[in-house]
């Protein structure tokens, strides 16, 4: 408690949850038993409940995306730690629909295990459950990483598309397939120029030599697999964008959704400058930038960095993305 404004390190998340629930009482309800946030309004046409969750520290993900048109519930764990399987299990029971519940899970061992156990328990109760595993991080796309690509910024786009789709009454299998297809068409790359402040030590989680950049960070303040000199943002964004394009390979005229995402402490000035560069590169490559978001959506506490996400939408996805949404952090 020096850099952090909190009552104690242990209180940081529960106090935030309580405050969030009060601030957005029109949109979400705080289920104290499971420590989850549940949407107050959801489309009657939904046949499947949508649930996500994960460690805290990534706000507004996921609690900020609970509400009409998006998630039915979010289960926040402690900072950077998976929620308990019981949280997930209880919240799933609360939001399951006739065709069950879909779990949107970022690919981390702890999350996979706890969501997996919750799914086993739901099966035990004859509640149908399927999973969309989000593993969009390009930097961890390597044979050396046994756990597979991490789940990062793309989660937001996947959640929005699934929310729009669920509102049209799609079934569990269809939604799971749609989510998997969206993930396959989506990659994210992140960089940082300064670490987040570790809540336990109140110190930067790592120190970067002046003028250096972490290239390929995750959202838990972990270092990237390489450090390299900072460069003008035009060149940096061009390189990142080209790497993402090589991975998602949009076909001619295919609509691309882009997310320019702040990891916490980067300024709005920088994010919009980055978006400008991204737009220029996509224009130059003849890529159709169909939709975009610029802001802090999937953060790593107060890390000073940003991520770029590209998702190549198929014809069905765009209307789902465009469908109305009313959550704490996203509304249109």
């Amino acid at each position: 408690m020096a850099r952090y404004f909190e009552n104690s390190t242990d209180d940081l998340v529960p106090d935030a949850l309580a405050g969030f629930a009060r601030a957005h009482a029109d949109v979400v309800e705080h289920h104290a038993d499971s420590g989850s946030l549940v949407a107050r309004h959801t489309a009657a046409a939904r046949r499947v409940g949508l649930l996500s969750g994960g460690g805290s520290g990534h706000e507004p993900l996921h609690a900020g995306f609970v509400g009409a048109g998006m998630l039915d519930a979010a289960c926040p764990g402690r900072v950077f730690a998976s929620p308990h399987n019981r949280q997930i299990y209880q919240a799933s029971l609360a939001v399951a629909r006739p065709e069950g519940v879909l779990h949107i899970v970022k690919n981390y061992t702890g999350d996979r295990i706890n969501f997996g156990i919750a799914a086993e328990r739901l099966a035990h109760q004859d509640v149908a459950c399927a999973r969309v595993l989000v593993d969009d991080d390009l930097a961890s796309d390597s044979e050396a990483v046994g756990a597979g690509r991490r789940g990062t910024g793309g989660t937001l786009l996947v959640e929005k598309i699934l929310g729009g789709a669920a509102d049209t009454g799609l079934g569990l299998t269809e939604l799971a397939e749609l989510g998997a297809a969206a993930v396959r068409r989506c990659r994210t790359l992140a960089v940082a120029s300064a670490a987040h402040t570790a809540p336990t030590t109140d110190e930067p989680a790592f120190t970067l030599p002046a003028g250096e950049l972490e290239y390929g960070v995750g959202i838990h303040g972990e270092r990237a697999n390489r450090t390299r000199p900072q460069q003008p943002v035009a060149a940096l964004v061009e390189e990142m964008t080209d790497a993402l394009l090589a991975a998602v390979r949009p076909g001619p005229g295919e609509p691309v959704l882009a997310l320019v995402n702040g990891l916490g402490a980067v300024t709005s000035l920088e994010l919009y400058g980055i978006f400008g560069e991204l737009g220029r590169v996509l224009d130059a490559r003849g890529v159709h930038l169909a939709r975009h978001l610029v802001g802090d959506y999937v953060t790593a506490l107060d890390m000073r960095g940003f991520s770029l996400t590209l998702l190549v939408a198929d014809p069905a996805m765009l209307p789902f993305y465009d469908a109305p949404v009313r959550t704490a952090a996203l509304r249109w």
Binding site: H84, N85, R86, Y89, T109, G110, R112, I113, N114, G116, I117, A119, E120, R121, H124, G146
Partner: protein, 221 residues
Amino acid sequence: MTTGAFDGRATSDWMRRFAATAYATEAELTALDQQAGDGDFGVNLTAGVKAGERLLDADGNPDGGPSAPLGSMAAAFLDEIGGTSGPLFGLLFQALARTAESAGSALTAAALATGTEEGLAAIRRVGDAAPGDKTLVDALTPAAEALRAAPDGTPADQALERAAEAAWQGVRDTADLSARMGRASYLGERVTGVPDPGAVGIALFFASAADTVREVAPHLR
């Protein structure tokens, strides 16, 4: 009650004996997880069995069949214990509880085989570990095989004794492996030579059942 099968009282005693074993070995388990993980396996396991005992006490009907005590352990481990191993143990207990329920008033060796196999399947679905990844799967897989291999009509306690032996062999084999899953995987070759603590926990579980029959419930022989 089928002869040689576990009734509710025996199952409950099995669970309490497992708890006692966990307390007795906590320091050793902790030491193993300190070498191969983050050192909390002993605490996680004892916290789980303690919560399980509380639920067993609250249940209070030891003659209610073998499913209830296993269900108490499942609820305790699934609901109260964090970390990786707690809920995975819970899945094993949950599968055994379910089989016990279909089995009726007593758990046969065949039902134990089925329950263990289903628990193993759930653990593998959830944790994604294969045999050889240096996890509790390396103890549970041979245990399930031993139970299944028992000839029709083998008394449950004998089947469990073989399962425990097979599990201990699995534990010994994990010492030669480097970890691919779980926290130990970050340490790579550095954990070779150390057996996996979660696997030890599994072996202790089956061994406690054998002890139960020998010392606590000789009427089942």
